[in-house]
Every structure is written in C-alpha cells, then in structure tokens.
Amino acid sequence: MMINHPILGPRDASEFTILGDACLISRPDWTADDAQDSFFDYQYLRDNPAGIHRELWFHEYGDRSWLVITRNTLTHEILDVVLARDLADKTGGQVR
C-alpha cells in the first residue's frame, strides 16, 4: 500500500502508523453537561464502515506529520490524502 503524502509524494505504508477514525480529531467539550457520555462515545464507539472510511495516519518514520486518509476498507484503495492540520483548520476541528 502506497500513501501519496501531500508534501513528500508517494511513500510506503510501512513508514506510517494508524490511529483510527478521523472523527478522533473532534474531541468533545469536557465542560458540557453530557461530557461523560460524549467522551464514552468518542473513546469507544466507532462507525466501522465497510467502504469509504476517513482515518488518521501518522508518518512516524518520516516527517512525523498527521494525515487524514480517505480509504476504501473493502479494497484498500486510497482515494484522498490531506494534512490533518489543514482539515482541522478548514472544519474548525469538527470532523465527522
């Protein structure tokens, strides 16, 4: 599996580690009344789709940037790669 890094170009997947669903960017508000429930959701529950999945990858053996990769979990085809920072800025940190 090759990952087309937005800055470095195509890199082998073995240089990366994965954290999971990109919704982990959207940390719940810890001051909200329902913080306990929303942190449970955030920490443990996942959509886990068969098909298109947006996920956080870390270029650990590279430039140590966080990426958001859109990938098909049925075929492993990578459809889009962006810097997580750019996506977080663009969405105000609310990635769903």
Partner: protein, 404 residues
C-alpha cells in the same frame, strides 16, 4: 476402500420457515455451536442458523487452528478453560472427528521480567483449574532443540508450557457442529443474507433476509468481522473495529515442530499441520479492513519474527497466505450480552482469538439466549463494561483495537 464414492450430504438444506423460536445470524463456528448447545443442552428445537455465504466460508475456515486456555485475567481465564474442557470432549459429543490434537503450546520468554510475568500467568491458570508448567532453558532444549537460544537480541531463557493446548481441524469443527445441530432439528440456511431487523417499540421480532422475512422470538447475532455492519441495521454503534489478520503456510515438511510455539519478544506463532505445512502468523495489519487480504509490511514483520527464534525455517518456501476479518473490541476481549434492544443478543469482539473459544462461546451464548442471564463464566464479557470502566485488557495495551 470405496474410492471416495458414495458420500452423501451430512446436513439438510431446508427452505426457511416463516417463524422460529430463535434465529442465529451467522453460520460460522460460534453460530453453529450456539445452535447445537441450544438444541442439545437447553431443549430448544425450533432454531434457524442464517449464513450469508456457505458454512465454513468465514473465519472458522481461515484461522490457524490453535486451541489453548493460557489467559491471565479473571474475566477471561475461566471462560477459556471451560472452552478447552469442551474441546476435550467435543468429538464424543458431536460424534465427529475434529482432529483435536493436544500437542501443547509453549510461550517463550526472553528476560527475567518476562519469566516472572509468565510465573504469574501460570499461577493464574492453575488457580482456575488449567495446567501450566514453567520450563527453564535446559528443559526447553530437550523439547525444542532447534530454537536460537543464543540470539544476541532476544535470547531464549525458557517457556511457559500448557500441555493440554493444541490444534484442531478448523473447518471440521464447523462441519461437526453443523451436522450435530442439523440432526437435532436445527435449520441451517445458507446463502441467506440478513438485510434488516424487525424492531417495534424497542423489541426485535425477526429479521429481513435475502430469502424473505423470518419471524423470531429471539435473535442472536454472531457474525465476527461483519458485526458493525450487521448491527448498524439495528441502529447500534459498537466498540468494535474490523481489522485484517493474515496467516501463512509453508510447503509440507517432515515433522519438525512438536506443538505450538509463540515468540515472546515480537508477535509470531507457529505450529505444523498434520499435512506437514508450517502454519504461522503474527500481528493484525492495524488498519480497518473488510478485504480478507493484507499487505506486505506485516508479512515481512511476521517472517522476521520467525527468523529471530528459529532460523531453520528460513529455507522453507511459502506456499500461500490469506487474511480474515477480525472483530477487534476496544479492550481485546469478547462480548456475549444482551443489547439495548429487547430479544436481540450479541456475540462479538473475538479479536484474533475466536477459534479456541468456539465451544464455550456457543455454550455461553446459548445459555444467555435460553435463560436471559449470562453463563457463570461469561459474567464479565458485557457490552456495557466500556462505559463502566470495567475493561478486560488482557494485553494491558489500552483502549485502541490496533494495539491488541
């Protein structure tokens, strides 16, 4: 003797009836075992098992056949020890040869700290009635002279041996349970994809399938890697991710590896099948997948693990590799529980350890379906344990599936 002619089907292929007392979704090992124990031990006969493909097409036919009960934590060890005891009587109970072979498993240790951890694990096993023996290097050398004891980075200091562990013929387990369940009147319905649940006022009363609506008093779901996909049809979001785990087989060799051996400093385990092939594997790939195939970096990592403990296998040629889809739970332990929807029950989260659990998983799920209360060895395998902070984190790795 007969030239392999004259074989007849060993289970019926019935049309689905409009209604059953209990419908099991998923005709893998766990679903078939559940139906068998419901019929044989809980006296419920009007049961259907719905399978979207054919029997043995999922993880029951894709695993590395290892059976063991060398767990540490309270919520797990009693469950897996019950499973091993069921394995020991399974061929008698099913009247079917599942090629259960108690050839033993050895977990290697490579440091003083790891030895101490294995002493603790062995004691926990024995307290739950399982067997465990700690081997030092000379004792291990007598059993496995071929290991790389003087490896500079991961010297082998000894191992934790469970003699009652071993291997069983994986797809024969599916066939044995299917045949025995069928003889007790269970309808096994293949090529029947569940496309939805009938849920009214928070109560499940049946399933919609590719072969029509089937009403049910209770519905139990045991679909491993497809758990999130199937349960989403009931509106549930679960603490599960689906990941791919690869397995590998070499060309057939003369008998060389006496039992199952696992590497203590990396993730690698190996046994030798009765046909002579070395059967081995390691870590999951680490990313969400429904593809039933993995990638080469993990392949390389597994082979490096093998070379670190037994360089003799370096000249063996790889014959084939494949992947299965694991229902990875957030703490690495399974779930056998009711769901927030009445009459809908869940059996999931087996991670990469579902095969050895097959009989106990079936028995405990049958108990739950029949009695609406957890079996005594499954009281901690609950769906709400994540919200309660009562994780069963066997590996001590934290709340992230790809670390388990």
């Amino acid at each position: 003797m007969t030239g392999n002619r004259g074989w007849t089907p060993v289970w019926r292929e019935p049309e689905p009836k409009p209604s059953y007392d209990i419908v099991i979704v998923g005709g893998g090992g766990h679903g078939l075992a559940t139906a068998f124990y419901l019929a044989s031990r809980y006296g419920i006969k009007n049961i259907a098992v719905l399978e979207k493909g054919w029997l043995g097409s999922g993880n029951i036919g894709r695993n590395t056949t290892i059976v063991r009960s060398n767990y540490l934590l309270d919520g797990n060890q009693a469950f897996y020890e019950l499973s091993l005891k069921l394995w020991e009587g399974l061929e008698q109970e099913l009247n079917y040869n599942v090629m259960m072979s108690q050839r033993g498993i050895i977990n290697l240790y490579h440091s003083d700290a790891q030895r101490d951890a294995y002493v603790r694990r062995g004691n926990a096993m024995r307290l739950h009635g399982a067997d465990a023996e700690l081997l030092d290097a000379p004792q291990l050398r007598a059993l496995c002279p071929f290991l790389d004891y003087e490896n500079a980075r991961f010297p082998i200091k000894g191992g934790l041996l469970q003699r009652r562990a071993g291997t069983a013929r994986h797809d024969a387990v599916a066939w044995g349970f299917a045949r025995a369940a069928d003889q007790l009147g269970v309808d096994i319905i293949q090529n029947c994809d569940v496309t939805g649940f009938r849920i009214d006022n928070g109560t499940c009363s049946g399933v919609e399938t590719s072969r029509g609506t089937i009403k049910a008093g209770k519905v139990g779901v045991a679909v491993a890697g497809s758990t999130s996909r199937v349960m989403a049809q009931a509106g549930l979001r679960l603490p599960i991710e689906s990941h791919v785990l690869q397995a590998f087989v070499s060309e057939g060799l003369k008998p060389v590896i006496p039992g199952v051996i696992t590497f203590g400093a990396g993730h690698f385990y190996i046994s030798q099948s009765d046909k002579g092939g070395l059967v081995f594997g390691g870590d999951i790939d680490g990313y969400n997948s429904y593809a039933q195939r993995g990638n080469l970096p993990v392949f390389e990592d597994v082979c490096e693990g093998g070379m670190a403990i037994m360089p003799m296998i370096g000249r063996a040629r790889m014959l084939r590799s494949w992947g299965g889809i694991m229902d990875m739970s957030m703490d690495g332990s399974p779930i056998i529980d009711q769901t927030p929807i009445d009459h809908l029950y869940l059996n999931a989260g087996w991670c990469y350890g579902g095969f050895k659990a097959t009989p106990a998983s079936g028995l405990c799920f049958a108990h739950l379906l029949a009695r609406d209360a957890p079996h005594e060895v499954a009281t901690k395998l609950r769906l709400d344990r994540f919200a309660r902070g009562a994780m069963i984190d066997e590996r001590g790795a934290g709340a992230q599936p790809n670390l388990h």
